[in-house]
């Protein structure tokens, strides 16, 4: 039992980060049809900028805010400099552009920061909390709770605000969105900025547990993309479920089978799911009538 809870909590923690990356993918994809493989770099920036600001003596909460702001700036620049000018390019071209951007960002981070691993202090100490016999790091609750809060806020934004509805409308029908006066450039700017902020927050929350370095973004982008596919690309709730599911798979796979195959297990399951259900587990069936 205690072992089970242990695996469950670590799976939820990792899964929460995957969920945030997947949400970023989904947000950008929904608004602009772009699959942004630079998504993982926002997570890296969140962690790394916080670490280096904190090292300069900036208080942690301020350092975290600066990191989120920096990631948002990078996200907006990515949109304005790389994505917006190539409007009308094929999806493959756009994907290659975002992959190029992620390589560039990684290189810049390597030069600007360094190639070491870095840690942030846990937000509420390192004394493990006993949960049904399992020893859980307090930071796990920060990661899971922070993710839950972001998901809730994003949900309220999308469902309750006119701007959020405009974003969903743009995703549903770009032509009609433009005809009612929705400025689709604004919507895409919002999506890139928002996804960068979400990724950066994930990076800040998880760095005390997993450490960070200039190249953590690559694998996170892959996992987050897999999670988004698993949940059904373009479906925010599916992205969250996909992320958590992926985290749990990895954690239980590593715990009960072998940690050597941790990444493998997850990808095999995803392949199986996608072959059987190309829409993803939670992909929405189209309700539109022609």
């Amino acid at each position: 039992m205690s072992e089970f809870v242990q695996f469950l909590m670590s799976g939820l923690t990792v899964g929460a980060v995957y969920a945030l990356v997947a949400l970023g993918f989904t947000l950008v994809y929904t608004a602009s049809d772009v699959v942004n493989f630079a998504q993982g770099e926002f997570v890296m920036l969140g962690g790394m900028v916080t670490v280096f600001m904190a090292a300069l003596g900036v208080p942690l909460p301020v350092a975290a805010l600066i990191a989120v702001a920096a990631a948002v700036c990078v996200g907006l620049l990515l949109y304005w400099l790389a994505i917006a000018p190539s409007r009308g390019a094929s999806p493959v071209t756009l994907i290659i552009i975002t992959i190029g951007a992620s390589i560039l960002l990684r290189g810049a981070a390597q030069v600007l920061f360094d190639k070491q691993f870095h840690k942030l202090p846990s937000f509420s100490g390192d004394v493990p909390v006993n949960l049904l016999g399992a020893a859980v790091q307090p930071q796990s609750f920060w990661v899971i709770g922070g993710t839950a809060l972001i998901v809730l806020l994003l949900y309220l934004f999308m469902e309750r605000t006119v701007l959020g509805k405009a974003l969903r409308a743009t995703a549903a029908n770009r032509l009609a969105a433009r005809l009612v006066g929705i400025n689709t450039t604004t919507v895409m700017t919002l999506a890139f900025g928002g996804s960068a902020a979400i990724g950066a927050i994930g990076g800040i929350l998880v760095t005390p547990i997993t450490l960070t370095s200039y190249d953590v973004g690559t694998l996170l982008a892959l996992k987050g993309f897999a999670a988004a596919m698993l949940g059904g690309m373009g479906n925010p709730l599916g992205a969250v479920m996909g992320g958590i599911l992926l985290g749990l798979l990895e954690s239980f796979g590593a715990g009960y089978l072998s940690s050597t195959y941790k990444d493998g297990i997850a990808f095999v399951v995803i392949l199986v799911v996608l072959v059987a259900m190309p829409q993803g587990l939670f992909g929405r069936r189209s309700v539109e009538r022609v």
């Binding site: 006119v162 509805k165 405009a166 969903r168 409308a169 549903a172 029908n173 032509l175 009609a176 969105a177 433009r178 005809l179 009612v180 006066g181 929705i182 400025n183 929405r284 189209s286 309700v287 539109e288 009538r289």
Partner: protein
């Protein structure tokens, strides 16, 4: 209200609008008829700014709008119910209408929405339902209602009767006549030429990207050339 002078547009190297000139005066319902592929939809999209133009001028209330982004044109009172309805499928009927008023900041959005519901009671019953699950006729009403929520001075309607039963067509046409009564100017595109010309003050006939005939609705209805081309088989 609207003046279009020598408007040109196309897709790639294919020119679809080859110098279209027309005029819609305040308070009029003007019908634009023409066969399949004549360029009617391309013209309306160009007017709304979602289709690039290669030449010509568009004036709304005397001011040039052809260089404005689509949302600026909505702001100035030009809205459109597009061909094929194009409702926001996953969003509720109510949200579709709210987004029709996206550019507005005034306090009368709710009142206008209720007016749309009064005009199309079928929508009121479905206000919480996803627009994509409505019937074709209801989606058409929603698309028109959404365009009305922008408080248009000039409303563009692209084939509002397409694919609807005769009863529904009559209902939509009656709604358009009622709009004129409220002081909204309408440019109506229809393949159903007889029905459109019957309610229109004036009409234009578009053929392969050019206006080939114009006149009062009744006159076009009885014009032998128009009759042969658009009223015969239909």
């Amino acid at each position: 209200m609207l003046e279009v002078v020598d408007l040109r547009s196309g897709y790639g190297r294919i020119e679809v609008l080859r110098g279209v000139s027309l005029e819609v005066r305040a308070g009029e319902v003007v019908a634009l008829i023409g066969s399949n592929g004549a360029g009617k939809t391309t013209l309306l999209r160009a007017l709304s700014g979602v289709q690039p133009i290669t030449g010509g001028e568009i004036r709304l209330l005397g001011a040039r709008i052809d260089a404005l982004a689509p949302h600026r044109r909505v702001e100035r009172g030009l809205t459109q119910s597009p061909e094929g309805r194009q409702v926001f499928g996953p969003l509720s009927v109510e949200d579709n209408l709210r987004l029709g008023a996206y550019m507005r900041r005034d306090k009368e959005i709710g009142a206008d929405r209720d007016q749309v519901y009064a005009m199309f009671p079928a929508l009121a019953e479905k206000r919480r339902i996803a627009a994509g699950s409505l019937s074709g006729g209801q989606q058409q009403m929603l698309a028109i209602g959404r365009a009305l929520m922008g408080r248009p001075k000039l409303l563009l309607l692209d084939e509002p009767s397409l694919g609807l039963s005769p009863l529904l067509v009559d209902q939509i046409l009656a709604a358009i006549v009622a709009l004129r009564g409220r002081g909204i100017t309408v440019l109506l595109v229809e393949q159903n030429a007889a029905a459109a010309l019957e309610i229109a003050d004036r009409g234009y006939v578009l053929e392969t990207g050019r206006i080939i005939s114009t006149g009062p609705g009744a006159a076009l209805l009885s014009d032998p050339a128009v009759k042969a081309a658009y009223l015969g088989a239909d």
